[in-house]
């Protein structure tokens, strides 16, 4: 499944400019250190953090997209930096628990 497929299937709102790419799993954390240590290239990263430091961390690990959950507002400087690195920032009003249920239902949990 690609990021573009996912946006359609669960009605995510794209906030940044990016190229669609394949998703190979899901990683959930609100800590950059955790992401840098354990997330894998191609993972979706689910978080409520919106500080612009999430962008270089996502870029370093090469995640397929960051999904900001629970309707959190993302500051313009975070989106601007994401545009520079072509990092997909997607947002949803769903809380993480509900989003994970949907992602699991789409088969992403088994990877």
């Amino acid at each position: 499944m690609t990021t573009k497929d996912l946006i359609e299937k669960i009605e995510l709102k794209p906030l940044s400019k990016f190229e669609g790419r394949e998703i190979n799993g899901v990683f959930i954390s609100d800590m950059l250190s955790d992401v840098m240590a354990k997330a894998k290239s191609g993972n979706l990263w689910l978080t409520v953090q919106t500080h612009k430091s999430i962008v270089p961390a996502a870029n370093l690990v090469d995640v397929s997209a960051i999904i900001i959950t629970s309707g959190k507002q993302v500051p313009p400087e975070t989106i601007e930096l994401a545009n520079k690195y072509s990092i997909a920032i997607l947002s949803t009003d769903l809380p993480i628990f509900e989003l994970v249920g949907k992602l699991y239902g789409l088969g992403l949990g088994s990877k």
Binding site: S33, H51, D62, K72
Partner: protein, 189 residues
């Protein structure tokens, strides 16, 4: 000789090992204005904690949740220790004539992103992380990403023109426990 070079022709496929979570603590001496940093596994280092050590009056100015690790080759078991790596800094392009920003501009067209590796201060000013280790770190991050899209290049912090003016952002968990984005970070240098 670095350990990894003793394994002959192995192309090395690096993986992270010996991961330890903890804090990077930044301390400033308000007597000499010196800065020092160290890693601790202490649960909650207290911000603002002050103490005297000889002629220095150290004050903890920032704690960042962080981690340290080593890299191990999955093929030949070569081990490179990175206990001297304090963290990676994202260049914000604050000084147009800074060598890091110049490199950043140069590599941007090739979709290669620059990150600055810092050793612990002040020791790293005298004994920086050796270039071969930065190359290993670069290899590690590139080996685990889709390099047809973009690449990472790790460079040493002594390329920064003036540390006292640098407004780069460490990729650390500073104030990340708050759900509200911090209103701009304090410069740490």
């Amino acid at each position: 000789m670095p350990e990894c070079q003793s394994y002959g022709s192995c192309g090395h496929q690096w993986g992270m090992t010996n991961i330890q979570f903890g804090f990077v603590v930044f301390e400033k001496c308000f007597h000499c204005n010196g800065l020092r940093t160290y890693f601790t596994k202490e649960d909650t280092p207290i911000l603002g904690d002050k103490y005297r050590e000889g002629d220095h009056f150290w004050s903890r100015v920032e704690n960042a949740q962080s981690f340290r690790f080593d890299l191990k080759c999955n093929q030949c078991n070569a081990l490179e220790k990175f206990e001297d790596l304090m963290g990676l800094l994202h260049c914000t392009g604050c000084l147009p004539d800074c060598e890091v920003e110049i490199l950043q501009k140069k590599y941007e067209g090739k979709r290669t992103w620059i990150l600055v590796a810092f050793g612990f201060l002040p020791q790293a000013k005298e004994k920086p992380i050796p270039p071969y280790k930065l190359d290993i770190l670069t290899d590690y991050f590139n080996q685990r990403r889709d390099t047809s899209r973009s690449r990472i290049k790790i460079v040493p912090f002594n390329l920064i023109k003036d540390l006292s003016l640098c407004k780069g952002d460490f990729i650390h968990d500073v104030e990340m426990l708050s759900l509200e984005p911090p209103q701009g970070r304090k410069p740490v240098f």
